[in-house]
């Protein structure tokens, strides 16, 4: 599922920005941009003030999955983890962004009458939320978070039935989302698992689905310089040897193609 991007970056305006728990949600006006497919991403850079963060960074744009795309408005959800996300998290209505996208290949629908089972957490929510909307029928989504503040991000998964797990038990199940996933698969393993989240969580999902023989599509992350296959920087090692570029061959890859989800 790949929507082609207009060639080149374009300058768009932030029309709204709000905090949702530990996260920042940016809404940008992308009136003539195409409709992206769930799991695709955009390269973002603030039009002003890019490059003035710690260590004179960021220089390169940053990759973000879209959370929602409708009525000429693109929404992103991000967490401030470094100079790029910090700068983007500081943007307010009226500020401008450079965006390139949609990029990469998104999720593929379940086959063989399997049900869609979404699993993830943290900033893995956007592709899953977009996919739930695209699939329709309120699929089951299992989301893991650090704590209550982060769990607030679950509210962004509007069009799914959400079960939450938190490390500290402050919301929902105390423990890992993979525990919820194991239970769900025990109940009914005729599913395709769609997952996005922190590397360790994705690796656990990959391993679990591997054991259970359940097909899984993982939306992967890696540091990216370009997002369109130019730099060969964003690779992940494949089980059959060699590497795939996450930005053009992914970000969504079949779990079966990976030996493991790398830590970074």
């Amino acid at each position: 599922m790949r929507t082609l991007a207009p060639f080149g970056r374009r300058r768009v305006q932030v029309v709204r920005a709000e905090d949702v728990g530990a996260y920042r949600v940016l809404h940008a006006a992308d009136l003539d941009g195409p409709l992206p497919a769930a799991g695709q991403f955009y390269m973002l850079a603030a039009a002003a003030g890019w490059g003035a963060g710690e260590d004179e960074r960021p220089h390169l744009p940053r990759a973000f999955s879209f959370l929602r795309a409708a009525g000429g408005e693109l929404s992103f959800m991000l967490e401030d983890v470094g100079p790029g996300t910090h700068r983007l998290a500081g943007l307010v209505a009226g500020d401008e962004l450079w965006i390139t996208g949609p990029l990469g290949a998104g999720f593929r629908p379940p086959d063989g009458g399997r049900r869609a089972l979404l699993a993830g957490g943290g900033v893995g929510i956007p592709p899953l939320a977009a996919w739930a909307r695209e699939l329709g029928g309120r699929p089951q989504a299992l989301l893991g978070f650090r704590d209550r503040e982060h769990a607030a991000g679950a509210a962004l998964m509007e069009e799914a039935q959400v079960a939450v797990a938190t490390d500290d038990g402050s919301v929902g199940h105390r423990g890992l989302v993979t525990e919820l996933l194991a239970a769900e698969l025990a109940r009914d393993a005729h599913a395709v698992v769609y997952a996005c989240g922190p590397p360790r969580m994705l690796e656990a999902v990959r391993a679990l689905c591997g054991e259970r023989g359940v097909p899984a599509q993982l939306a992967l992350e890696a540091a990216m310089a370009c997002g369109f296959g130019a730099c060969y920087g964003c690779v992940v090692a494949l089980r059959d040897g060699g590497y795939a570029r996450i930005c053009v061959d992914g970000p969504v890859l079949d779990a079966g193609r990976l030996e493991a989800v790398p830590a970074h």
């Binding site: 790949r2 082609l4 991007a5 207009p6 060639f7 080149g8 970056r9 850079a45 490059g51 260590d55 004179e56 960074r57 960021p58 220089h59 390169l60 744009p61 450079w98 390139t100 990029l103 990469g104 890696a222 540091a223 990216m224 310089a225 370009c226 997002g227 369109f228 296959g229 130019a230 730099c231 060969y232 920087g233 964003c234 690779v235 992940v236 090692a237 040897g241 060699g242 590497y243 570029r245 053009v248 790398p262 970074h264």
Partner: protein, 310 residues
Amino acid sequence: MVDFCGLRLEHPIVNGSGTFDAIAARRAFGDALLVDFPFSAFVSKTITLQPRAGNPPPRLWEAPAGMINSIGLPNRGLAGYLEHDLPQLARLPVPLITNVMGSTQDEVARLVEAVDARPEIAAIELNVSCPNVRTGLDIGADPQSLGSLVRAIRPLARKPLIVKLTPNTADVAAVAAAAEREGADAVSLVNTLRALALTPATGRPWLGGGTGGLSGPAIRHVALAQVAAVARRVSIPVVGMGGVTQPRHALELMAAGATLVAIGTENFRDPRAGKRIATGLKSLQIAKRPSTSMNTSEPRPEVDANCANS
């Protein structure tokens, strides 16, 4: 139109090898890429005789005003390139320059012969920023060894031969002069500066490949100094690159003596950077022609070798 080693190019802006993958870009942007192709010639990523998977990740580090890469020259190898990539690259609306690298003279010879035989390819760029297996230094770091390499392979190519110099040397102009003497049709520079990034938590190298190469605005003025030094020494055309993000940076490289200017890292920030810079350059040239005409009869910047640090 710009004449470069007999190639008639629409404008002076090309891409740096390995900084734009036209095949992948076509997958991301579709035919819009061809309609609005950003470069007047396309330089393909370095190919080697055998296929290479490239270095283990991480391959990127963001540096002040630039980036460090340790990609490791992933490529399908000569045969794979000719079979899979070339047919697609031949469909680009601009001439194709194929960049090759070998770690032995024999490897380079076989690459050059095979590439020279293909009509779809307009010119050959020889990447000599690879460590000599004996010395560990880049082959391109030493005038003698580079000279003998060029002497050996020059007869094998009827197509224009561009030697891409390494900046990791004491006297890049001497290396360029050796390339010219042995028959290179042009030189291109700069390649990336050797750099190291350490993992914050551990102090161990961040990049899977150990060291990497620094590129982007951080190296712009180093590139300008090397291009000026080379252009004053040789009379063959120079392809200048290093940290160009704006039309005026291209104009400066031309004022320093470059005939063509290549865009590298900026492609990552702006896929259409080549077109943007080519267009802006044209207006600047009209505005500023007197002071920056490419007419080589006009004096190149005097860059006397005074104490660099002072």
